[in-house]
């Protein structure tokens, strides 16, 4: 396990780290499954990205997948992402549907 999933609750937390490329993204998807199984209790999903060094489209797809499975009422946050990481999110237009912050503020 890559240990991305930190907490499941009203505010659920995912800690993204290292390189999330096509070979790693399936492990992230796998860790999202127990979270999605408890989607009724989740109000906010927080992706911490301060230790994320690289993300490819496979990683972006995992974020989209989580948002789609959790439904429109769940607010999704991206916290502490570097400019390089944000750049990839912006190019795909996904940034418009995320709350982007340096540190998590409810």
């Amino acid at each position: 396990m890559a240990n991305y999933l930190q907490e499941i609750g009203e505010v659920s937390k995912i800690k993204l780290h290292g390189h999330i490329d096509a070979s790693i993204a399936p492990a992230l998807m796998e860790e999202l499954k127990p979270l999605i199984a408890q989607k009724d209790k989740i109000k906010k999903l927080v992706f911490y990205a301060d230790e994320l060094e690289y993300i490819a489209s496979a990683g972006i797809r995992a974020v989209v997948f989580a948002k789609q499975k959790l439904g429109g009422k769940v607010q999704v946050y991206l916290i502490g992402a570097s400019e390089m990481i944000l750049d990839v999110f912006k190019m795909t237009g996904i940034d418009k549907f995320l709350t982007i912050q340096d540190t998590f503020a409810e």
């Binding site: 489209s57 496979a58 429109g72 418009k96």
Partner: protein, 135 residues
């Protein structure tokens, strides 16, 4: 310069391929954002070949066209003939996230980032060429 360097078309060799390609990119690009963008492009192209072409090998070239101040990449595989530039639906980046198509993002990214992309088949091989002018 990389000239037709051969790699096994397998996921476990992806980091090695990207290390070689990134090394070439860094000779000409100094902005971390652009180095990262071009690395993302290379990964998207390579993953498509590895996952879908059925080729056992990938041949990678990367050189700098001094006159045009352009970095040029060529990816060659021996898999099923397929033009990735033609057969993929466009991604609507303004679409609501809840109705987003989850596929096609990778190709969308390298179509967006690169200045020019060309595909041709030659001797039964797929050739994908990508060009990026210095920024």
């Amino acid at each position: 310069m990389l000239h037709c360097k051969e790699f096994p078309s397998k996921r476990e060799f992806l980091p090695q391929m990207l290390t070689e390609i990134t090394g070439e990119i860094k000779k000409y690009f100094t902005d971390d954002k652009w180095i990262n963008r071009l690395k993302v492009c290379a990964e998207e192209i390579l993953v498509n070949i590895i996952d879908y072409s059925g080729s056992e090998k990938i041949f990678i070239s990367c050189d700098f066209l001094a006159k045009e101040k352009t970095l040029h990449f060529e990816f060659v595989d021996e898999g099923e003939l397929y033009n990735p530039l033609e057969e993929v639906p466009e991604v609507d980046i303004d679409a609501e996230m809840d109705v987003r198509q989850i596929g096609g993002l990778g190709i969308f990214l390298y179509k967006t980032i690169m200045d020019k992309l060309e595909y041709h088949c030659d001797d039964g091989k797929n050739h994908l060429l990508a060009y990026k002018k210095l920024v």
